[in-house]
């Protein structure tokens, strides 16, 4: 236990040395800090080079919904192959409408695809990213599917190939969950499990939501 404490104190010193404004972040598992976007790269670099956190496990993002500000948070998970522990960093994007964040590709080449996925799903731009394109959807896809405002059923759009669209006359359609429920009753067992959708289909009884 003592070693664990000293380790965390060392970590806190390392983070605060690089980013005095960093604050501890509520966490149930590993040590975590909130840092400013401007300090992210320096803190990541220091954790990697002086504290042995040599592996970037994951980069992901959170959309707290359009009403909240700051709306977008980017989260990094680092793993140390010598300590066998994790550390988490989180940074809020300054802008709610055009979110941006410094890229970690200069520190870990593996961050490249993680950041492209975040860009694809949330629309967060990564400064200095060498190849910031969509990775799952095609380049012309007009939406960011993991944003809170995007409906589970999807939104109509064009296919990526205009020739095929012209020939088949088809495109993306909204596909609502039909014939649910797909969860148990609220408060019952499994009620916290995903997906939480009830029957969202539109039909004679229920009009299509606008």
């Amino acid at each position: 236990m003592l070693t664990r404490m000293t380790t965390d104190v060392d970590l806190a010193t390392a983070v605060n040395l690089q980013s005095p404004s960093a604050t501890p972040r509520a966490s149930l598992d590993c040590p975590a800090w909130n840092v400013l976007p401007a300090d992210v790269r320096a803190v990541l670099s220091r954790l990697r080079d002086t504290q042995g956190f040599d592996f970037l496990m994951d980069v992901t993002a959170v959309d707290w919904s359009a009403e909240k500000s700051p709306r977008f948070t980017v989260v990094w998970h680092l793993y140390s192959s010598t300590r066998h522990t994790y550390v988490r960093l989180a940074a809020d994007c300054a802008s709610n409408t055009e979110p941006a964040m410094p890229s970690a590709t200069g520190l870990w080449p593996g961050a490249n695809w993680h950041e492209r996925e975040i860009f694809d799903m949330f629309g967060i731009k990564f400064d200095d990213h060498p190849d910031l394109r969509r990775i799952l959807m095609w380049d012309a896809y007009p939406y960011f599917p993991l944003r809170k405002g995007f409906p589970l059923a999807g939104l109509p759009a064009e296919l990526s190939d205009p020739d095929i669209t012209a020939e088949t006359g088809t495109g993306l359609i909204s596909a609502p969950m039909a014939g649910g429920p797909f969860v148990a009753t609220p408060g019952g067992p499994m009620s916290e499990a995903e997906p939480r959708a009830k029957d969202e289909a539109w039909n004679e009884q229920r009009a299509k939501p606008v």
């Binding site: 995007f150 020739d163 596909a175």
Partner: protein
């Protein structure tokens, strides 16, 4: 496979070296028994497709063992798996590259209807972009189900008026 085919009766004692039949019967017989698949393996159904090709199930019994991965040399596209909207134009383009006559088997729930993927990213049935001849239920279907679909497709091919289409086209 041995089938009773009254259209193609041949008795050498009576007819010598001459076989008399209808063009439809001969063409359909050849087409149905050399149905070369274009394996469009997109998800887990493709594993069952591979099993169907292996010795235990042996799709070669139906003359369909020639998986060519080349649309020019194939007759039947087997769409095995989830078709995403990103993949849909590719599937259609490969179908367009296949030489006629050509058929399509939609293998499994995803290819038939989108399956459990009621989602922004998944095509809700491959029949939205290409004409499907046989649908197979299951998630994934067993190899026997694929062989059943192949036999259904052979039966369908044997009912076609191939000769008139051959000369009108």
């Amino acid at each position: 496979m041995v089938t009773a085919n009254s259209e193609l009766a041949y008795d050498s004692k009576i007819e010598g070296d001459v076989i008399v039949t209808r063009a439809d019967a001969a063409i359909n017989w050849m087409r149905a028994n050399s149905m070369w698949p274009m394996p469009m393996g997109l998800a887990c159904c493709a594993i069952e497709l591979m099993a169907a090709a292996s010795s235990r199930f042996d799709i070669a019994r139906f003359g369909a063992e020639v998986m060519r991965f080349s649309p020019r040399q194939s007759d039947c596209m087997i769409v095995a798996g989830t078709v995403t909207y990103k993949m849909a134009p590719v599937v259609r383009r490969i179908y367009d590259q296949m030489a006629a006559p050509k058929w399509v088997i939609a293998m499994g729930a995803c290819a038939s209807s989108g399956g459990m993927y009621r989602s922004y990213a998944t095509l809700q049935g491959v029949d939205r972009i290409i004409p499907v001849d046989v649908y197979i239920s299951g998630c994934p279907p067993r190899p026997e189900a694929l062989l059943d679909a192949l036999m259904k497709l052979q039966a369908k091919v044997k009912r076609e008026h191939s000769a008139s289409k051959l000369f009108s086209a």
